[in-house]
């Protein structure tokens, strides 16, 4: 039944794609009835109704009236959750990793505060339908987070990250917020580097590596200082011969505390240095990566710094770390009161977001906290919780209806709503599967 509906919907989407989109009739009201509803804003409702109207959640509860004309989805035996939010991806910025012509994630040069992810996100990327079929309804696309540009030069300020819905015909329709955070790759003391000239690994004495590191931090400090003066100058109208600088201008919201820095750092020492830097410069910091966040948890808590953790399914940094070091970290951070979300840090592996959250549960994180780490907490950390992250009246209706726990690997998303629209779970992988399942025997 649900399969048929999904198929019908997929078919209608294709038909529409060939026509002018204005011709498409969209249903504006839906009601999911008799489902278990996990709102993440209070206790789950065992037998509840969720009403979606004009793109928003119009009502949720055990006794909610279904508006006239609403398309009703019988949710008996099904479960309703907010769609998942993947807080670090290169979604839409990178199609095929090895083919540079399909990759727009990292600009040339070390300082690119003016480039914005939303500009280069490809709405028709095949990754988008594949990812949303796994229950992910919105993501943050992060530019320049790899630490290097294509020539192997250090990327320090990578650009601005943008949040968007995983459905829509244009970026204008998909965008949640264009300027969400400024990416900063905190410099590293690298005693082992990759040498592009010889295509081999190189060892560097510690003193040299430290010198290199100090130079990079000084350069960064210089940029921030210049941006501060620039922000002050434009704040005062500026002198008559004021020369515009788009890069410094892009940094002005960071200086004013309006745009957080999304600081990529994994080692404790780098995290500590980054926190100290942001504290001194009075910049709002969100940590990304955080493999050794547990080593500086007190500092992170006291400075109220949130963390977007890289996948817990990653190897520990040190050989002599416990083998499950990253798996147990979320539970440890929760204990210390550090706020965190979990990200995929990828495109093609974005659909492993739920798997990563489940693995944190297997290693001590309470289930609700794991679910929130991939829904509500990313939204809160990026200041978007008034729009997405829970099932509450008035929020954007990014909703998944599943046949089970959305973090478990066997669970299927039966219905998917993005911006209140019933959205197809069809995708490239499903289509190829169906095509080749039907290949006649040769």
């Amino acid at each position: 039944m649900s399969g048929k509906l999904a198929y019908f919907f997929a078919a209608s989407l294709f038909l529409c794609a060939g026509q002018r989109s204005a011709a498409r009739q969209t249903v504006s009201a839906f009601a999911i009835t008799h489902a278990k509803i996990v709102t993440l804003a209070g206790s789950p409702i065992e037998d509840g109704t969720l009403v979606i109207k004009d793109g928003k959640i119009a009502g949720v509860g055990a006794a909610v009236e279904v508006p006239a004309g609403a398309q009703i989805i019988d949710g008996k035996g099904l479960q309703v959750y907010p769609g998942l939010f993947d807080p670090v991806t290169q979604m839409g910025l990178s199609e095929i990793g090895a083919v540079s012509s399909t990759v727009d994630s990292s600009e040339i040069g070390s300082y690119n505060p003016d480039v914005v992810a939303a500009t280069a996100i490809l709405p028709s990327s095949e990754h988008i339908p594949v990812t949303r079929a796994a229950g992910i309804t919105e993501v943050l696309a992060v530019p320049g987070s790899g630490g290097f540009d294509f020539s192997g030069n250090r990327n320090v300020i990578g650009g601005q990250a943008s949040a968007f819905h995983l459905a829509g015909w244009t970026m204008d329709e998909m965008q949640i917020k264009r300027n969400v955070a400024m990416v900063l790759n905190w410099p590293q003391i690298e005693t082992r580097t990759f040498d592009f000239a010889t295509f081999s690994r190189k060892e560097k004495p510690y003193a040299d590596a430290k010198q290199e590191y100090d130079k990079q931090v000084n350069e960064l400090t210089d940029w921030i200082e210049r941006a501060r003066h620039y922000a002050q100058a434009i704040g005062h109208g500026g002198p008559s011969d004021f020369e515009r600088d788009v890069k410094l201008e892009a940094l002005a919201p960071v200086i004013r505390g309006q745009l957080p820095l999304l600081v990529f750092a994994d080692h404790a020492r780098e995290i500590r240095n980054a926190v100290e830097f942001c504290d001194k410069q009075k910049l709002k910091m969100i940590l990304a990566g955080g493999s050794e966040a547990y080593k500086v948890k007190e500092l992170l808590r006291s400075k109220n710094i949130s963390v977007i953790l890289r996948p817990v399914l990653s190897l520990p940094i040190e050989e002599d770390d416990p083998y499950d070091r990253l798996l147990t970290q979320p539970a440890e951070l929760l204990q210390s009161g550090v706020k965190f979300a979990i990200g995929s840090f990828d495109n093609s592996f974005a659909r492993r977001l739920g798997q990563n959250a489940a693995n944190a549960v297997a290693h001590g994180l309470p289930y609700d906290e794991a679910l929130k780490a991939v829904t509500l907490y990313p939204a809160q950390i990026f200041g978007l919780a008034d729009q997405v992250g829970t099932l509450e009246t008035g929020k954007i209706a990014n909703v998944i209806v599943t046949n089970g726990d959305p973090l478990e690997l066997t669970t299927e998303v039966k219905y998917l709503f993005i911006k209140g629209q019933l959205t197809s779970t069809d995708n490239k992988h499903k289509r190829l599967y169906e095509k080749y399942s039907n290949r006649p025997k040769p």
Partner: protein, 490 residues
Amino acid sequence: MRYGNPMSARCSLILAALLACASFSMATPPDASSIILIQNATILTVSHGTLEHGSILIKDGKIAEVGPSIKAPKDAKVIDAAGQFVIPGIIDCHSHIAIEGGVNEGSVSVSSIANIAEVLDPDDIDIYRDLAGGVTTANILHGSANAIGGQTMVIKLRWGQPAAKLPFEGALPGIKFALGENPKRSNFSIPGQPKRYPATRMGVEETIRGAFTEARDYKNSWDAYNKRVAAGEKNLVPPRRDLRLEPLVEVLEGKRYVHAHCYREDEILMLLRVAKEFGFKVRTFQHVLEGYKVADELVAAGVGASTFSDWWAYKVEAYEAIPYNAALMTKRGVLVSVNSDDAEEATHLNQEAEKAIRYGGLTHEEALKLITLNPAIQLGIDKRVGSIDVGKDADLVIYNHDPLSAYAVAQKTIVDGRVLFDRDKDVAERAAVEKEKKELLEKEKKAAEKKPDEKKPETKTPEDKPKPPSDAVKRDSGEEMVSSPDGGAR
């Protein structure tokens, strides 16, 4: 106590040297395998269904008895596994752990002279990590830089044993082949080095054909020589030995398995044609992400497929990869396994196998076979491992949950009847390991302070080690090839 204790893997040289003196890590590994009785477990035998509240008796490293209730023999160590699940040890059909240094001899297009057996590293911490993820056997492969790559071998994850003890006794050795983008070097070039032949899939075919033409001639010359010797001729000059061709002759004679890295449907069929032409068999296609397109041809050729769960889009030849690959091929009759190609991925192969239930609707047992019995058959070791049957090696994993779940955590991993990973013990030892590490660092610091005149040894603090890839990027085959150091663009 070296097993179960990651601290004793090589840290820095200095630490390791100091460690060698520390009594903590010097306890001898339990050489004599004891009698172990696992009781009250849910036993997923893989070969003959599930046994609820069952027992497994282990003697002399083998499974001695499997049944609903077995009386504990005298001196048996009893493991109460109430509420827990036992499966056969996981077999990873594509791994690059336990290799010292690089996995690719990439200078030539036929590197069959290189042999993984010569660079086994028993101290690689990834052995322990994968053991903690339930892996007990792994197919250790050369990289995919060459149309015909290096010689490969199957090992058991006998953590704590020297390199000589790792090889899986009696397992046929293999050789790595590679088709497509990696051998033709599509995704990178090495500065200062000329382009290498082949640069197309056509050239890859000719490279393999050329090598086997030589190997056939070489074999003929030896056959002729041996025949004349057998006939009693004296004073013959034997043919000159060619170490590059010898492994290929073994392939022609069915004494060495071919494990062929591939992606696209066309190159899969290409290798099947070339193999037919020379009369050898391809044992497994590795990755084989478009295997679902030619499943019937794979069945007809009787070749196994060892694939990823859900990797895709990291390069053009992976752009039509689908997570339904394992299930679709299985349903068409292909013998399929799910592999890791990555030390981290190997720590949760149980979860990766589970995905074939969601994508393509395999049964629980079919999914479990993808990481146990099927790879055992593919590697020709199914008489020894791959299922829980009397007489097979006691290679077992005990989980706290149905292993085909993202919530399952391996509690104990047993190899040859020895508990080589014990989660409780690992957790319990951590404080002591941490304390020991601090003391050693302290000692080293003091030693350095005492001798201010001498040049200080370069102290590598833990944070000086190379960082992991900046993004959670997975690649195929330990391939330095596709790994653009640009994590962001990956």
